[in-house]
């Protein structure tokens, strides 16, 4: 099929603008990123600068790929990362608009590549269990109810891609942060530090310049791992509980 692509270019000779490209011979079995590979091969052959975009595992788990496609983070399919999106969902002659994830806390590096290291700093603020190597007791010493463990897993499935931030009108990182807070608060191993953790992570989130949550829930709708906004509610409870308990960090 033939497609028209409007792609955000920024850096080098581009000040920040949409550039239009025509692409012929797109095969329906291609993934979206393979389609961009084909475009880049053509640009390189024409001695033009290829479009910079991030990707790595191409199977929806590393969280490296991003892109806002026709206004939606990771494109039109539910529960799908950009790398798992295939061209069979597009029709002959369509125009596709491709932009980077946009948020103050995710500055653009080049074209479609943004800096998401703010997420690492939020984890560094407290997204862990303080256990040194070798300090662990036997793995079966504490039984954990299957459903509880499963809920922790649901939260831990976050891939840290940042789609929640890109989808949110406030560019809030509440879904990302709350997924980690929930993952650890739901497990006995993480419960010990829960009060300190939630306050430290929320403080870091604010410091990075992410916006506030106004319950739009676009984050949940666009999350490729379908992380639930229940986690945000849980984080709010955790936070209030910690503050009322008078334990400050």
């Amino acid at each position: 099929m033939k497609l028209t692509l409007k792609i955000w270019r920024q850096g080098g000779k581009y000040k920040g603008e949409f550039v239009t490209y025509q692409l012929d011979n797109v095969n329906e079995h291609m993934s979206f990123l393979e389609m961009l590979d084909v475009l880049n091969e053509q640009l390189i052959e024409k001695r033009e600068t290829p479009v910079a975009f991030e990707h790595d595992c191409r199977e929806g788990i590393c969280g490296t790929c991003s892109l806002v496609i026709d206004g939606r983070a990771h494109g039109p399919m539910q529960g799908t990362t950009t790398c798992q999106l295939h061209m069979r969902h597009y029709k002959e002659g369509e125009t596709i608009v491709i932009e980077p994830f946009r948020a103050r806390a995710f500055p653009v590096i080049r074209d479609l590549v943004v800096d998401r290291s703010a997420f690492d700093r939020i984890i560094q603020a407290g997204g862990y269990v303080s256990v040194n190597t070798g300090q662990a007791q036997d793995a079966n010493a504490i039984p954990i109810e299957k459903d509880q463990s499963s809920r922790a897993f649901d939260a831990a499935a976050c891939i840290g891609c940042g789609a929640c931030v890109a989808a949110c009108p406030n560019a809030s990182a509440m879904l990302f942060t709350s997924a980690k807070v929930s993952h650890l608060a739901l497990l006995p191993q993480g419960a010990v530090e829960r009060k300190r953790r939630v306050q430290a992570m929320v403080a870091q989130m604010d410091k990075e310049g992410f916006g506030r949550c106004s319950n739009v829930t676009a984050c949940e709708a666009e999350c490729p791992k379908e992380i639930s906004v229940e986690n945000i509610a849980r984080m709010n409870r955790e936070y209030l509980g910690a503050v009322f308990a008078g334990e400050t960090v």
């Binding site: 600068t49 910079a52 929806g60 490296t64 295939h86 590096i109 997420f119 862990y128 299957k146 922790a152």
Partner: protein, 641 residues
């Protein structure tokens, strides 16, 4: 002159070697650890776990990753699970059995001492991960669940749905993040190591390129650890992530680290088949699927284009169950892969290309119900449907083998040190533990064993002699020269300004490797491959085109450097495969097989590790041997029948 390599394996009973080693290894006192710098390259399971553990011990650690975040490393994509000899199922497992299975699965080409140590520490890994908050699968009683995996008859695999690698990596990443927050580890993301620096024969640091600015940086340290993963992407198409590469290991090799068993490649039996030329990578479907899925092809070549539902039971050949009744669909990966190739070569392959076999869940769904099947494999089924557009609950999956893991890597001794003093290699980047074939769910185990429980002990043996060295200065002639070498190579890459893209060279290299150094190899094909790769490499340096500038964010330049290194490695892999006149594990030479097509080892002549020394770009590498002694295990022909 080739010298015998000494693995420095402790003497004594195999089950006592590690205990005895730990009791005698020199220690570094806490106040001295603060004065010692360690560089870790790579932030996957092997790198992140080592960085966190060494940071906790008090060393000054610097971690380098080319990713934007350490959490992106390719360990994250491992699906199936992690082995450990916990024997929670009371099904006859033990440390000895895990040790035995790993040696046998590796077709008797791994070092006994290392493998036993791996089996010993495996149990502590599970404890550590649970303490970090890794949400492993549990039973209704709240205790950990296990499943069985290819090549074993016990259930010793711990798993977290189909995302075990992700959960383990996040555990290690969190431990690493804690050390970053405490100031014990400094993180350099978007930095790629392009060379190691040797001073007086010891590794004293690295040259790294800041991928955002293109700036070259010098970093000194008392020891450098490479946890940089495998080199499966030499085949262009593999299940590895797009950026996985051999550069760090290869640069170390060029500086004197021997590269061991490069030809041992694992071809994973269950991957989604190739669909076209534009294909950029292959997607693995976890081996755990073979617990419940049954592999089959039509008995008659006339049926291959029929819809599977129109092929009655009597006309299907469940070839693994037929050929290997004892293990059935759970034979090790190398055997399952070759069996699929045999069927397809005989014209029984299905799908548009004829290069696929069915993996059918109809029986499992009938037996367990769709809900139970979806609980076990739901995310894998979804992944399959997203890529192919087919629903595996209704139509059998189509799968074909693909390059997945490389058992070969930098040669290391018992302490995980390469042949360069002060330079270590961990995880998939080293050659050890898996012999000629890795068992499923053992890669995660090895990466974490090395990082959490082995290296933190063994590195002390070397660093205890470094306490008087003082800070390593980087304004030395050795650093000057290393940086200049890197800069020259970048100039050379940018300077060709030829006509062909980096990608096109990589694709061509991949085809040569897959056709002539893939699932089945022979002397003629390998000899041809060596000269073809050499020609391709010369053509690359004559005609490659790298756009952009060196002093900016330039992914094409990064790729060009990596492909240039793959072109050199590919040749070495073929040399190694050609020299090894036997079949073992993932290395199958067509000339050496039994009457019924099984691998035929030659223990008399090849029971050794082949460690290659770099001699220059157009020179023949020099072979060094580490002879493998089996003191504990009786070496037999591997049989899964």
């Amino acid at each position: 002159m080739s010298v015998q390599l000494d693995s420095k394996t402790p003497t004594g009973e195999v089950s006592e070697k590690w205990e005895s080693y730990k009791g005698h290894v020199p220690l570094v006192s806490p106040n001295n650890k603060r004065r010692i710098d360690v560089i870790i390259v790579g932030s996957g399971l092997a790198g992140a776990s080592a960085a966190a553990s060494l940071g906790e011990l008090g060393y000054n650690v610097k971690v380098f990753t080319f990713h934007d975040s350490p959490r992106r490393a390719h360990s994250i994509a491992a699906q199936g699970g992690i082995n450990a000899a916990k024997n929670y199922q009371n099904d006859g497992d033990s440390v000895y059995r895990l040790f035995y299975d790993t040696i046998k699965g590796g077709d008797y080409r791994a070092r006994e001492g290392n493998v036993h140590r791996l089996a010993e520490v495996s149990t502590a890994i599970i404890d550590q991960c649970v303490a970090q908050g890794v949400p492993f699968a549990r039973e209704y009683g709240g205790l950990l669940d296990n499943r069985s995996f290819g090549g074993t008859q016990v259930s010793r695999t711990f798993y977290a749905r189909g995302q075990t690698g992700q959960q383990l990596l996040i555990g290690a990443y969190q431990a690493l993040s804690r050390q970053v927050a405490l100031g014990n580890v400094k993180l350099y993301n978007r930095h790629e190591m392009l060379d190691v620096v040797l001073i007086d024969g010891k590794c004293r640091g690295i040259i790294a390129r800041n991928l955002l600015t293109g700036e070259l940086e010098r970093h000194g340290a008392h020891a450098v650890v490479l946890g940089t993963g495998g080199y499966g992407n030499v085949f262009y198409l593999s299940t590895n992530a797009m950026m996985s590469n051999t550069t760090a290991a290869w640069r170390a090799h060029r500086r004197g680290a021997y590269f061991a068993n490069p030809c041992y490649t694992q071809i994973h039996p269950t991957c989604i088949p190739v669909s076209g030329e534009y294909q950029s990578k292959l997607t693995l479907m976890s081996e755990s699927l073979r617990n419940d899925g049954r592999c089959w092809v039509p008995k008659s070549t006339a049926d291959v284009k029929k819809h599977p539902s129109q092929i009655p039971e009597a006309d299907r050949d469940y070839y693994l169950e037929r050929r290997y009744p004892a293990f059935g669909n759970l034979v090790p990966r190398d055997i399952a892969s070759r069996a699929a190739k045999t069927e397809c070569d005989a014209g029984k392959g299905v799908g548009a290309t004829g290069l696929a076999v069915y993996l059918d869940f109809a029986d499992a769904i009938k037996r367990l119900g769709q809900k139970a099947v979806s609980e076990k494999y739901g995310n894998l089924f979804e992944m399959y449907e997203k890529i192919t557009g087919d629903n595996p609950y209704e139509v059998p999956m189509r799968i074909y083998p693909a390059v997945h893991y490389t058992m070969g890597g930098l040669w290391v001794d018992y302490e995980l040190m390469t042949t360069i003093p002060g330079l270590y290699a961990t995880g998939e980047a080293n050659f050890s533990e898996h012999g000629a074939n890795r068992l499923g769910a053992s890669a995660l185990m090895q990466g974490l064993a090395d990082g959490y429980f082995v290296l933190p002990y063994t590195i002390g043996s070397y660093l205890s002699n470094e306490i008087r060295t003082g800070t390593v200065q980087t304004n030395t002639p050795e650093f000057d020269k290393a940086e200049k070498d890197v800069l020259d190579r970048i100039h050379q890459l940018m300077g060709v300004q030829g006509k062909q893209t980096v990608e096109s060279f990589h694709r061509r290299l991949g085809k040569i490797m897959w056709n002539k150094c893939g699932m089945a190899r022979n002397a003629r094909g390998l000899t041809e491959a060596i000269s073809e790769i050499r020609e391709l490499r010369h053509e690359f340096w004559r005609d490659v085109f790298v756009p952009g500038r060196r002093d900016e964010y330039n992914p094409e330049l990064e790729k060009a450097w990596r492909v240039a290194d793959f072109l050199e490695l590919g040749e070495l892999m073929c040399e190694d495969a050609l020299h090894r006149n036997e079949s073992c594990g993932g290395h199958f030479r067509e000339e050496y097989q039994t009457g019924d097509g099984e691998a035929l080892r030659d223990d008399e002549n090849y029971m050794y590790v082949a460690a290659w020394e770099w001699r220059g770009e157009d020179a023949k590498p020099e072979l060094h041997k580490e002879v493998l002694d089996y003191e504990e295990i009786q070496v037999t022909q591997r049989s899964y029948k």
